[in-house]
Amino acid sequence: MGTAKPVTTTQAVVTLAVRRRRIRWGDALAPYLFISPFILSFITLFIGPAIYSFVLSFFRYKGYGSATFLGLDNYKAIVTYHVFWTELRNTIFYWLAHVFVLMIAAFLLAVLVRSTIISRKNIYKPLIFLPNILATVATALVFQSLFGTEYGVINSLLGTKIPWLQDYGYARWVVVFLLIWHGIGWWFVIYLAGLTTINPEVEEAATVDGASGWQRLRYVTLPLMRNTFIFAFVIDAIGSFRIFNEPNVLVARGGSLANPDMAPLLNLLMSDLRSARFGSSAAVGWILFLLVLVVSYFQFRIMRGTGEEAE
C-alpha cells in the first residue's frame, strides 16, 4: 500500500495554469461549437451554392452532361436583351411606386394607433396586420377576381369594362396596389415596435417645452426612428427586387410566366430555369444580386447622410 506523494508548490502552480488554459480554450471554443450547426448549414446551403452558381454563370449547362465554358457570353446576352431592360424597368417601377406610399401609410398608422386619439387599439392592430397573414398567391388570386374585365367586382361596381389586368398600363398599378395592401400590416408592426423604443420622457420633455404634435413628430419621433426607417427601406428594396408572385399570379395564364412588358426581373431567371439554361439563369441571379447591393448601399448612404445632417 503506497502513500500519496506530496505535491510541491511548483507542480500545483503548473497544474492550475494548465487547467486554466483548458478552461480558457473551452470558453473560447464553446460559442463556435454552439453556432457550428448554423455555420455548417450556411456554408453547405448558401456559400457553397453561391460559389457554384457564380462559376456556373460562365458556362452553358443543362443540368446533366458536360458544361461548356462561355466566358462572359451569358452576361453579355442578358444585358443586350431588351427584355432584361424592360423587366428591370418594371421591377424598379414596382419598387418606387409602392415604397413611399407603403412606408408613409404604415408609419402614420403606427403613430395613430400609438397615440391617445385612438381607443380600442387591440382591435385595430390585428385588423391592420390581417392582410399580411394571407398568402401572396391567394391574395393575388382574389385580386384577379376583383379586377376581371368582364365580371370583376371593381368593374361591376363602376359599371365599366376597364381591362385592369389585360392592359399592362393598368395591371402594373394593380400590382402596386396589391403590394401596398399586402405589405402595410407588416411595416405597421415594425414601425409600432420602433415607436415603443422611443423614451416617452423625451416626448414629454418636448411637450413641456411647448412643442406641437407636428413638431414632436418632426423633431423627436422621426430622427429617433431613423434606424427603423433604414431597416424598412433597405429590406423593402431587397424584397422588391425579388418580386415574383404578385405580377405573375395576377396576369400569367395556364402555367406560363407573365408577359415581359409586365414581368419583374426575376422572370428572366425563372424563364431560363424552366428552359434548363442554368448558366444563364445563374448570371441573371448575380446581376440581380449586384443591383440589390448597389441599391442598398446608396440607401444606406443617403439615409445615414440625411440623418447626420439633421443631427
Binding site: 452553358r60 443543362k62 446576352a77 443586350t80 436583351y81 431588351h82 427584355v83 384577379q144 377576381s145 376581371g148 374585365t149 368582364e150 365580371y151 370583376g152 381591362p163 389586368l165 389585360q166 392592359d167 396576369v251 395564364r253 395556364g254 406560363s256 410566366l257 408577359n259 415581359p260 412588358d261 424563364s271 431560363d272 424552366r274 428552359s275 434548363a276 439554361r277
Partner: protein, 297 residues
C-alpha cells in the same frame, strides 16, 4: 332552339377565315351579349400550336440551328389569323384561364370555342347546367391557312423510366400495355376516361362509348358531365375522327424558351405595338441572341 340556327349559321358553311369572321359578326349581331369565341390580347399558346401544326414542317429552326421564324409561313399566318379575329371583335376579349373565362361560359357570353379535345374535361365542369347544349365538330379548313382540320396543340408525351428504378423492365412493359395495346387502352378508358389512341381499340371503344355504363362509385353529378353525356353520344366518334388529322409542331429542345418570345411578340401585334413583319423579325432576333442554336442546350 340552337343558338347557331337562330343566327342563321351553319357550321359546315365556315370554310375560310373570312367566313368565320362573317359568321362571328352575324352571331354577335343576333346576340349582342354573346360571341362565338373568346380571345384576349394574350392568347393561350395552344391556339398557335393548333394552327401552325397543320402546316408542312412547322418548326422554329432548321436542323442545323438556323431560325426560320420570318420565313416559315406558319408563323406569319398564325399571327395574321389572331390579328384578324381580334380586330374583327367577334371574340369576347378575355383570355383563357382568366377568372372571366369560366364566367364567360356560365353567362353564355362565350358560345363557342376553337380548342383541343382536352376541353372535354373542363367545359362540362365549367357549365354543367348547359349539358346537351354544346356540340363538337372538327375545326373548319379555314383557308387561306393550311387545312385546319389538321394540327394539335401537343408535342407528345415522353415517359422516363430510370435504369436504377426497382423494376425498369416491368415499368416499360406496363406502359407499353397500358398505352399501346387494345386491352390496356380500353382499361384506361374505363378507369379514368382517356380516349384510346390505338386504332385496334376503336370499334370496341365506340360500342362501349355509345352505351356508356356508369362506373361503380361515380356520383350522378360526375356522371352527368362525362363527355358522352354532356356533348351527346356521338362525341367520341368525332373525337376519334379528329385523330386521323393529327399533325404536330416540330418542337426543338429550346421550345420552352422560344414559346414565351413568340407569345410576347404576338401580344405586341394584337395590341398594335408592332406589325406582323416587325414582330416576327424581332422574335427571330430575340431567339438568335438569347438561344443561339436551339439544339445546343
Amino acid at each position: 332552339m340552337d343558338l347557331f340556327d337562330q343566327a342563321g349559321i351553319k357550321v359546315s358553311d365556315i370554310k375560310t377565315v373570312s367566313d368565320l369572321i362573317t359568321v362571328g359578326k352575324a352571331f354577335h349581331a343576333k346576340f349582342p351579349n354573346s360571341y362565338i369565341w373568346n380571345m384576349g390580347p394574350t392568347p393561350a399558346g395552344y391556339n398557335g400550336w393548333e394552327i401552325m401544326g397543320a402546316y408542312p414542317d412547322p418548326r422554329f429552326a432548321t436542323e442545323d440551328g438556323k431560325y426560320v421564324v420570318t420565313t416559315n409561313q406558319c408563323f406569319a399566318d398564325n399571327f395574321k389569323f389572331h390579328k384578324d379575329i381580334f380586330d374583327a371583335k367577334i371574340a369576347l376579349p378575355i383570355d383563357d384561364w382568366s377568372t372571366d373565362w369560366q364566367k364567360g361560359f356560365t353567362d353564355s357570353a362565350i358560345c363557342g370555342s376553337f380548342i383541343a379535345t382536352w376541353m372535354k374535361f373542363f367545359l362540362p365542369k365549367f357549365v354543367p347546367e348547359q349539358k346537351g347544349k354544346w356540340k363538337v365538330d372538327l375545326w373548319p379548313v379555314l383557308q387561306p391557312l393550311a387545312d385546319q382540320r389538321y394540327g394539335s396543340d401537343a408535342g407528345g408525351s415522353v415517359y422516363v423510366i430510370f435504369k436504377k428504378c426497382p423494376n425498369p423492365t416491368l415499368a416499360v412493359d406496363y406502359n407499353n400495355k397500358m398505352w399501346l395495346t387494345k386491352a390496356g387502352a380500353l382499361a384506361v378508358y374505363k378507369a379514368v376516361g382517356n380516349t384510346p389512341a390505338v386504332k385496334s381499340a376503336r370499334d370496341d371503344f365506340l360500342s362501349m362509348a355509345k352505351n356508356p355504363q356508369r362506373p361503380e362509385g361515380m356520383s350522378d353529378d360526375v356522371w352527368a358531365v362525362q363527355p358522352a353525356n354532356f356533348f351527346g353520344p356521338d362525341y367520341f366518334e368525332l373525337e376519334l375522327k379528329s385523330y386521323d388529322y393529327l399533325k404536330v409542331f416540330n418542337f426543338d429542345p429550346s421550345a420552352t424558351k422560344e414559346k414565351p418570345i413568340l407569345d410576347q411578340w404576338l401580344n405586341k401585334v394584337l395590341t398594335g405595338a408592332a406589325s406582323i413583319s416587325e414582330a416576327l423579325a424581332n422574335a427571330q432576333k430575340d431567339m438568335e441572341s438569347q438561344i443561339g442554336n436551339p439544339y445546343k442546350v
